[in-house]
Symmetry: C2
Subunit: 470 residues, 2 copies
C-alpha cells in the first residue's frame, strides 16, 4: 500500500544493447529517491531493446527529474512515459464473446447453418422465444450522447464511448449482465427518440447515461411504451440511491423524513428523479428554486412549490437537495440550524460539507456517496429476470428501501462491493415487477416441497445411477 500512495508512472525506453546501460538508469532512479517497479520487454532488436519500466516516486517533480536525467545517459532514449491507468485500459475493458465452442463443421451446423434456421423459425412463430434462445434477456443497451458527461465542456463522442465501456465492465463484473455501449452522434431529442425506436429490439432493457436534462423528460416519456424498460440513470438511478441515503440519514439524525420539508436547489432531471421518488415515498412538502424556465415548468407539473430566491428556499427547507452545478452557491449564513444538506453537484458542491456543519447543519454531504452503480446492477437484473415491460414506482421504491436496509450500522449506504447487495436489490425489484403485473415471465412451477436434507438428493441420485445402467 506504500507504493500506491506514491506517484506511479511507466517510462518506455530504448536501450543500446550494451552491458551497463540499465545499471545507469537504476542509479538515476535511486538517486532521486524513486523505486523501480515492473520491467516489461516491449521489443527486442539486435541493436536496441525497448522496455516499459514502472517507476515510483514521491511526486511528479521527482519523476520529471528522473526522466530528464535518464534522457542524458548515453545509449538510452526515452520514447514515452505514461500513467499506469492508461496502460491498464489498453485494448479496452469489454469484449463480446461466443458462449459456445464452434471449431468444426458439426458445431457450425448446430450453431450456425442450419441450426440457426430452427431457432429463427421458432422465434418467428413466437416472439417471446427470443428470451429462451438468445442472450437478449441478459443484454442492455448503455446509451449516451455524452452531453453532460464528466466535467468536459463538450466531450467528443469517442470520449463518451470510453466512459460507457467502463460502466459496462463494472455492470458485467457485478451481475454478469451484457451491457453494450451505444454512442449517439446527435443531441436532437426527436432524432434520439427515432434512433432508439429503430434499434431498441437489440436489447432487453435500455439505460440512458448523461442525457441533457431538458430533453430527458421528452425522451423518457416518448419511449415509455416500447415494451422494455427505458431508464435514465441520472434521473431514476440517482433518485433511488438518494432516497435510500435519505432514509438512513434521517434515521441516524433523528429526523422524521415523512414530516420534513424537502427543498430542491436546482431542478434538472436529477432533481426531478429524486422528487418523483420522494413523492412516491410519501413526502408531501417539497419546495424548489431554479432560474431556468423549463425547470420552473417541471416544478409546476411535478407539484413542487416554487420559491423566489435561494434564501427563501434555505430558510424553509429541513432537507436541502442541491443539484445546481454551481460550486459555492450556498453561503455560510444561508445554512439553517439543524438542516440536512445533500449536495450532488460535481466536481464541487454548493458548500463544502465541513463548512455547512460549522454553519449549524445537522448533516451535510457531497455527491460522493450517491453512486448510481449502487442500484443499476440489481435494478437491471431484476427487470431482466422478470422480463419487465417497464419500470414502476413500486420497483424503484423497493430498490431504495432495500438499499437503505443493506447499509451497515451507522453508514448511510452500502458499498458497491458489499456481498450480495446487488442480488438482494434484484430480488425485491423482480418481486415488485411481478406484483405490479409488468413482469412477462411465466412463473416457473416450483414444487411445494424442496428437500431440506442433502441425503435425500444423494438417495435419489444413487437410485438413478442404477436405472441409467439398466
Amino acid at each position: 500500500m506504500n507504493k500506491v500512495q506514491r506517484t506511479e508512472r511507466v517510462v518506455r525506453i530504448k536501450i543500446s544493447n550494451v552491458p551497463g546501460a540499465f545499471g545507469k538508469i537504476a542509479n538515476v532512479i535511486g538517486q532521486n529517491e524513486g523505486n523501480l517497479g515492473d520491467i516489461k520487454l516491449v521489443r527486442m532488436g539486435k541493436k536496441y531493446v525497448t522496455r516499459d519500466i514502472t517507476v515510483y516516486t514521491k511526486n511528479l517533480l521527482y519523476f520529471n527529474k528522473i526522466i530528464e536525467e535518464i534522457g542524458q545517459i548515453q545509449g538510452i532514449k526515452v520514447i514515452n512515459h505514461f500513467d499506469n491507468i492508461l496502460r491498464e485500459h489498453e485494448g479496452g475493458l469489454i469484449e463480446v464473446k461466443s458462449k459456445v465452442k464452434i471449431d468444426n463443421v458439426e458445431k457450425y451446423e448446430k450453431y450456425y447453418m442450419p441450426g440457426m434456421s430452427a431457432i429463427a423459425k421458432s422465434i418467428n412463430e413466437d416472439r417471446d422465444k427470443i428470451y429462451d434462445y438468445t442472450n437478449i434477456g441478459n443484454t442492455i443497451g448503455l446509451i449516451s450522447n455524452g452531453s453532460t458527461m464528466l466535467d468536459f465542456d463538450d466531450p467528443n463522442e469517442e470520449a463518451t464511448y470510453s466512459v460507457l465501456e467502463s460502466r459496462a465492465a463494472v455492470i458485467n463484473e457485478l451481475t454478469n449482465i451484457s451491457a453494450i455501449p451505444i454512442v449517439l452522434s446527435t443531441k436532437d431529442k426527436d432524432s434520439i427518440v427515432k434512433t432508439i425506436k429503430n434499434i431498441y429490439k437489440s436489447f432487453g432493457m435500455i439505460i440512458f447515461e448523461d442525457l441533457n436534462s431538458e430533453d430527458s423528460f421528452t425522451i423518457e416519456s416518448e419511449l415509455s411504451e416500447l415494451g422494455i424498460p427505458v431508464v435514465d440513470t441520472n434521473k431514476t438511478c440517482n433518485g433511488i440511491v438518494t432516497l435510500a441515503g435519505l432514509i438512513n440519514i434521517s434515521e441516524l439524525n433523528s429526523v422524521d423524513l415523512s414530516k420534513s420539508k424537502v427543498g430542491f436547489l436546482g431542478y434538472g432531471s436529477k432533481a426531478s428523479g429524486i422528487n418523483m421518488l420522494l413523492k412516491a415515498y410519501g413526502i408531501k412538502e417539497r419546495i424548489g428554486f431554479d432560474i431556468r424556465e423549463y425547470s420552473k415548468k417541471r416544478m409546476q407539473v411535478e407539484n413542487i412549490e416554487i420559491k423566489n430566491s435561494i434564501n427563501e428556499l434555505m430558510e424553509e427547507a429541513d432537507i436541502v437537495i442541491a443539484t445546481s452545478r454551481k460550486a459555492g452557491l450556498i453561503k455560510f449564513g444561508m445554512v439553517k440550524k439543524g438542516q440536512i444538506l445533500i449536495m450532488l453537484s460535481k466536481p464541487k458542491p454548493e458548500i463544502e460539507p465541513e463548512i455547512a456543519i460549522k454553519a449549524g447543519a445537522r448533516y451535510a454531504t457531497d455527491g460522493k456517496i450517491i453512486s448510481p452503480l449502487l442500484v443499476i446492477p440489481g435494478l437491471v437484473k431484476g427487470c431482466l429476470l422478470s422480463r419487465a415491460k417497464k419500470l414502476t414506482f413500486n420497483m424503484m421504491l423497493a430498490a431504495a428501501e432495500k438499499l437503505a436496509d443493506l447499509a451497515v450500522e451507522d453508514s448511510v449506504l452500502p458499498g458497491i462491493f458489499d456481498k450480495g447487495i446487488h442480488e438482494e436489490v434484484c430480488n425485491v425489484v423482480r418481486q415488485a415487477a411481478i406484483e405490479d403485473g409488468v413482469a412477462c415471465l411465466e412463473e416457473i412451477d416450483i414444487e411445494d416441497e424442496v428437500p431440506k436434507d442433502i441425503e435425500d438428493i444423494f438417495e435419489s441420485i444413487k437410485g438413478m445411477d442404477l436405472w441409467t445402467e439398466a
Copy 2:
C-alpha cells in the same frame, strides 16, 4: 457418428420418487429400437424428480410412439420434449464480458472512477486514442432489418436478432472479434441511413446483413464517408467469395476467365457485388437479364449489357451467375454446351446442378459453396487492424485471390475451419489497405534487424535479470 444420423430429441419428464419407475422408461425406449442418451437432473423434489432424457430413435414416428407409451406409465408425466438444437441455443450464443477483474475499491478506482476520467480526457484530446484505450478497434456492428433473411416471408425482428447472434458467435470464434447484433425496426432506407449515422461511433466497422437489394445501393453510398468501413455482406462478401470460387472453377475446368463472357441471371445487390469484383478483376464482357426496373437501371450504371430474355442470356454466356431467387427458372434446353453455372438462389437453385451437367454444362453448382463467412472474419480483421477508413477494390481483390489460393488441390474454395485461412485473408487485406492509403494506423516503428537467433533474446534477458537486481 452413428447417433448423429438418428433422430435426437430430449424429453423432460417428472418421475415419482419410487424405485423402478425409470426402469420402465428404459424398457419403452428399448422396445421401440431407441437408445438412451444423456440424462440430466432438472429439479429434485421430495415427491418428484424432473429430468431431461436424450432419446435417439430411427425417426420421429418411433419417437412419438415412445412419448405416448412413456405417458402411460404410472407415476411418470411427460412435461415436454424438444429438439436438441433448440436446447443448445438456450440462453443465446454470445455475451459481453469484462476483460478485467473489478472486485474491490482499488480496481474500481482504476477502471471506473476516477480511472475512466483519465481515459476519457485522453481520448477527448486525441480522438484516435479510442483505439488504444477501448475495445472499439476490435468491435463491429452486425446490423440487419431482416428484410431478406432466411426464407421467411416477412420475418419478425426478434427472429432477425437470433440470426445475427449466431453470426456474431461464429465471427468471434474464428477471429476473436467482438460483433454486436443490432436489429433495425425499419425498412425505410432514409431512416436506416439516419439511424446508422447516429450510432456508428459505437463500432470500428459496420457489416450489413440481409438488406433489401434495392435500398442497399443508396444506403451503402450514403454511408461511404463515415470514416469506418461499411460493408453489405450480401453484396460485397458474396462478391468476393464468388470471384474466389470462379477463379478456381475456371482453372479446374480449363477456362480462361478473363476472356469469358459472364451472364447475370437476376440483378439485385448480390449480382451487383459480384459484377463489381469481376469488373475490377478484369472481366470485360458482362451481360445480364432481369425484369425489375431498378435492376435494369443498375445494369446500365454498372456497364452490364442488358439482354432481352433468359434465352438470349443463356445462349451468349460462358459463365452464368444466377441470383433470380426463382427455382427451376433455367430449363434443360437452355443450358449451353461447356457452360459454367453458379446458382446462388436459396433454398432451391434455378436448375439442379446434376441436371445442368446432363444438359451439357461443364460445371454447375448451387450456392452452398459460396459462404460469406469464408471472407468476413479475415476481411473484418484486416480492416480493423489497419484501422481502414473504407474498403477499397484492392482490399477486396486481395481477399478473393488469397481465398482462391487457399483452396486445396482440386477444391473450389477452402473450408471455414481450415487452419490459418482467416489470418491469411486478414494479412492481405491489411497490406492492401496500407498500400491504398486508407489505413489510419501509424506503422509501428519496426527495427531494421530482428534477431533471428533465439539465443540473442536469451542473452539480453539474462543481462536484464542482473540489472534489475542491481
